[in-house]
Amino acid sequence: MKQFATLVNILGTSTKTNDKLQALQDYFAVAADKDKIWVIAIFSGRRPKRIINSTILQSWCIEIIGITQWLFDECYHTVGDLAETISLLLPEPETPTDGYRIGVAPEHTLSYYLETFIRIEKEDEAVKKQFITESWEQMDRNEKFVFNKLITGGFRIGVSQTMMVNALAKTVHAPSSVIAHRISGNWNPATASFEYLLSESVAATDFSKPYPFYLAYAVNEDLEKLGAENEWQAEWKWDGIRGQIIKRNSDFFVWSRGEELMTEKFPEYNNFKDQLPEGTVIDGEIISLAAPAEEGIFKPLPFAALQTRIGRKNITKKQLTEAPVGFIAYDLLEFNGEDIRYKSMAERRQLLEQVIAQTNYPSLHISPIIAFDTWESLGTVRTRSRDMSSEGIMIKRKNSPYQSGRKRGDWWKWKIDPLTIDAVMIYAQKGHGRRSNLYTDYTFAVKDGDRLVSFTKAYSGLTDKEFAQVDAFVKRNSIEKFGPVRTVKPELVFEIAFEGIAASNRHKSGVALRFPRMSRWRQDKKADEINTLDDLKELLKNYNLPLAPEGK
């Protein structure tokens, strides 16, 4: 556990990608195979389930150290993270000067802890309590932090799956795309072995495995530098869930970009299974579509409609009719059982058109190509994105292979500019995690006559320096305190950018925004120069757009 705690510590504090990569490689070089398997699982979204809720965990800590609830709360408020608070409050184990702990069992491994979690998951609270409190006694602060993170299921460390894959690739001397492919799919960290997981034979036998997704970087106005227009293909950027559908060995799988197997969630796709040829993998967008009107015409429904489908275990008839799900195909990755990612996009597109043409399922569409002559004319098309319920335009190089992960050069997303509104800050609250000591969560208002009406919260978009300045302002200009919320003098004006706006009866203002953030601190503006509620309503009228919950 110590090795892993050290790794997490470095990953959590290090600011440079190279250092993180090195730390992961160092870990993979020395850790036991069983532990490595678990690390791969943890960093690829296969976290163990939480075995105890945080309130109970907290009460055990309070009981052990014998402090009052308010003092615990005060500590938690200052630290901003429960797992860390507990790790700081619990006593450190006695360490004799020679470094060995006398009378204590030898250190347990990461896999020991995780496998015990699984073993006791369904046991009584008393069993869990004994295991957890005894484990605490043996671990130092760093280990306790990691352990608490694992038991509460809230394990988020600044490491992307891609980074983990790269480190693993270096360790086992294999291309990272191969590694990404091998660790994707359906495997169980409790039973898989390191050799098995990374062996050549795995990909051959596990028919469910998707390919790693190729992700685009954002491009801004300066498209001229992409060169000749005719080397590029443009498509709409659809706003659903990126996914892969796989037909292999007469079986059928649907994967989301989050590497979640979603086959069961979309019974609509069952027909694809019969119609798609054997050995086919299609990359595309899982999206709610209104019932097909005419051939080739489709209209996406709000993302929220799709969201209702993902959240449920069992899909009802009602949901199937209200939010039917279709698939918009972007790319063909496997054809006749052959991995064709190395072929040019133009070739793959041709094969894709061929495959889709063979099917006649009304909800399986091919992503239409947008014809354009000049970058400028494409820009004009882009202004229609909102009418198309699209987020903007994708630009892909015609002769590019299908790469893995986020890579620059061949694929670009050209999103539409956000909508903006100028608003004044009226409430502030302390942030979480790395911002737990600063007021960084703000509520904003627009004018309605001489009244201020709150309409959104936002937490991001300012630099650390600006946050520090606003924090100082909040501390000096609080009018009232309600629990953690401070009412502040309405003085600071911010430009709030957002991706969509929809009517909402949950909000006083009657609107709800999608992805609101502070795009600019308008130090040049006074509070009486902000936008009005009528301005918001005007935006609502013009851009009543699908709403998706945050964090999509």
Binding site: T13, C75, T78, E92, D464
Partner: protein, 334 residues
Amino acid sequence: MPLIEFSDKGLYCRQGNFYIDPWKPVDKAIITHAHSDHARAGSRYYLCHHLTKPLLQLRLGDHVYESADWNEPVFINGVRVSLHPSGHIIGAAQIRVEYNGEVWVASGDYKTEDDGISGAFDPVQCNTFITESTFGLPIYKWKKQAAIFEDIKNWVAQNRENKKTSVLIAYSLGKAQRVLRPLSEMGLPVYVHGAVWNVHQALVNSGWNLPEVKRVQPDTPKQNLAGNIVIAPPSADGTPWMKKFYPYSVGVCSGWMQVRGNARRRNIDAGFALSDHADWDGLLQAVKATGAQKVYATHGFQSAFSRYLNEQGIEAGEVKTEYGSEEEDSKTAG
């Protein structure tokens, strides 16, 4: 009338007509230590410990300074004043004030672990104790200094292996001198920022035997710095001045580093929870050792700390002061 009042200029003894660590200019100021949130310019007369005097001269410029030794009584209008080591930084004192058999002690900043350079904290019996509470929550429990020094040395060695310069962020007065000794044991040249250099020179000139340091000059060749150690104050972190050391790794020595979020927020590579303030256990131990019937907490988590003391049967109140604004607001140097 209480012996010490909490006025808008600072802690005030009406009988003696003097202030302790006033934040506005006054006639007579008694100074606990030379940190800028405690020692401010503009007063007519200053009393401090011998070791603090050169530091006040450096930082506040020309004023009337008088100094005293540890436990040497100074009588001011019938009030007996004496200074006692607080263990915070070089020369840092607790101020003991006695009149008509009643004793108050103002702690200034203190720590209970003997760091080997600031003098060992001296618990002073009193009726009323005014204590700091910078780290007055039970999440703050320091590792032993020796263990943290080991961590710092390992970090420097690791950086050297990776061909990086170790830039250690430490408050120029106190922390910088404290980490200098263990660092100098590594046998590597230690470079310092101008602010650290100035304090270093003032201490050397007043007779301190400190390990040798080199000042980072505009013409210091880059290759002299590579893989070596640089000590810089928090204000230098993230400024173009740091460019010279590239590639480097930044480590911050501060009690605030106890909490991960603080290290992450500051975008540094390593945080060492090395503090010149007492931790939770240290504060409690100090308060109990004074035997005080009444405690005032200031400078930090005063409301939580005083509430806890009351629950423990020690009568305590919280006092708002203007201490803690320079060192602590930056959340770096505590």
